[in-house]
Amino acid sequence: MLNCGKFQNMSAAATNVKDLKVSKLAENIIGSEIIKLAGEVNEKIKQGEKIYNLTIGDFNPKQFPIPAELKQYIVDEYFADQTNYPAADGMLELRNAVSNLLKQRGGLDYKNDEILIAGGARPVIYAIFRTLVDANDTVIFAVPSWNNNHYTYLNGAKPVVIQATPENNFMPRAEDIKPFIKEATLLALCSPQNPTGTIFSKEALEEICDMVIAENLRRGPEQKPLYVMYDQIYWALVLGENKHYNPVSLRPEMRNYTVFVDGISKSLAATGVRVGWSMGPKRIIDKMKAVLTHVGAWAPRAEQMATAKYLSDLNLYDTYLVTQKKKISDRLEGFYKGFMALKSEGFGVHAITPQAAIYLTIQFNLNGKKTAEGNVLENTADVTRYILDEAKIAVVPFYAFGADKDSTWYRLSVGTCSLEDVSAAIESLRAALKKLS
């Protein structure tokens, strides 16, 4: 071994790797709560246990594959040497295809220069925060919700956290938000919502829009307006008779203040393909493009071209979604009915009617119950563990989405489960609940 001494010195310095100083931002950043839970679940699976792992906010490609045509197009584009830098705002083909998709299916009119393509929805969210929010600005979001706390933190902004309630399907209401809007720069909304699988009603969203419009009239042009980030990444997965609404279609005056988060990650079950986009006022989209250029968070060029080609035939898209939504809905409805049956049998469980996305909101009201071994379930952590150990069901407590530590509500995700798993999991839960006294 050459230079052995030199490397030894380096590794001596590196033995205290954990003590290396990093930025304050990095020092205090927190990982995902869900990922922590997933570690325990995976360990149990490795030990050979049959666990109904309903924690993952992702699709199992065996159950929910991406469209076959999209898969083929991606491969084709690589063979056609689409391997260089994409355009900074996204390939024109894709921006045109998205513009058309929004017009034909989304009720929105955005031109190709009002659309920015990125490597999934996350960079879009990051760019929105970076573009609109200064350090110490106020960001309003409700909990439970997905990752708003982290993006707020990354910007050094001040979070105002609203507790959404089961009575309102865990969607925030105008009256909950109103006391805080005078100071706020950004209001982060998400519908269909992760983690709840619920959506805004037309009236509820209209009330919020009217409030934002009034606030912006009050501010006048000198001041930074109150913006709305509207995350509609799940909008294609609205189930049954439910209908997706967005601020701009309901109130055209919202166009200047709304920036959308969107993409194919959920609609085409393509979480690993990494194609997302944003729509908004051209000035804001341009600034977001400048931010993302320095991050390099583009969607790969071949994936962009393939997605453009796929979206050029909306018949394909519609047909795919019919099957996809049927599969999701069968699972969600199966779990919902199962939970409501258990509830009617007198067990301390509950669920909220699923409306969209791949999530069901469920409740375990089991504090104070005694296990067969005589242990009392004292708190949410005990209940979560009991459900995992006895019912073999893994779900994510709402505290992982910013709710209170002792919230009794959970997210159940159906993206990785088979239809057979649904009834088997409910039976397993029934057996575990029966053992409690």
Binding site: K18, K36, G39, N42, E43, K46, Q47, K50
Partner: protein, 224 residues
């Protein structure tokens, strides 16, 4: 070394989905034997290991592993099969939010251990065996790669397995650390645990010669 057979395969073919990736394997492994599995990426080493620990179903042939007949094994029995096996992977897969001790304790609780005193005794014993006496209270990120892999070996030992299945366990480690892990596993084999060791690492392979299964063209050839 006793003559007790812990793995016996008769005409086993290993399947991924519907296609066979390795055909007609005949193999007998005895208590305390150390057996290499070598062959190119994609030659089926991991798939065979997965079949042995019940992750892939046995579709063709007869296989007995640690007393379990894989042909008739029920889904419910898989956890009991796994308790007779220790599995070590290339990535250490430790729970990053808790100490070494708590990592081992978690697995023991999940595999039916209840008595905390017995748990402590067993953890102390496996930490000693793997040279980690003083590391129980460390968090995974406070350990080097070699130490983390020792923890995953310790974790594989908590249920005193008859067999260790190691799938490229040194794939993430530098040569020197790899040799240390290798010596540790050879010691474990000497004390009676059979070890199947899939690897790419020819330096290691040449340094510690042992019985070898070579995976090539959908077949397994026995060397040495």
């Amino acid at each position: 070394m006793s003559n007790e057979t812990v793995i016996k395969l008769d005409n086993v073919s290993v399947f991924q989905e519907h296609s066979a990736v390795v055909n007609n394997i005949n193999l007998e492994v005895k208590k305390g034997e150390f057996v290499y599995m070598i062959g190119k990426t994609g030659s089926g080493k991991s798939s065979l290991l997965k079949t042995l620990y019940g992750e892939l179903p046995l579709k063709q042939g007869e296989a007995t592993v640690a007393g379990f007949n894989l042909k008739n094994v029920k889904r419910k029995e898989i956890p009991f099969l796994r308790r007779k096996l220790g599995i070590v992977f290339q990535d250490f897969q430790l729970l990053s939010d808790r100490s070494v001790y708590e990592n081992l304790r978690f697995v023991m609780k999940a595999t039916g251990w209840k008595d905390e005193a017995a748990i402590k005794k067993q953890i102390d014993s496996v930490l000693k065996k793997t040279g980690l006496e003083n590391k129980g209270q460390k968090m995974p990120y406070e350990l080097s790669g070699g130490e983390q892999q020792r923890v995953s070996v310790a974790r594989a030992l908590v249920n005193s397995p008859e067999i260790i299945l190691a799938d490229e366990p040194t794939g993430n480690l530098d040569p020197e650390t790899s040799s240390e892990i290798m010596s540790l596993l050879l010691d474990i084999a000497k004390s009676g645990t059979a070890i199947l060791f899939a690897t790419h690492d020819f330096i290691l392979y040449n340094k510690f010669p042992s019985r070898t299964l070579k995976f090539e063209n959908g077949k397994v050839e026995q060397l040495g």
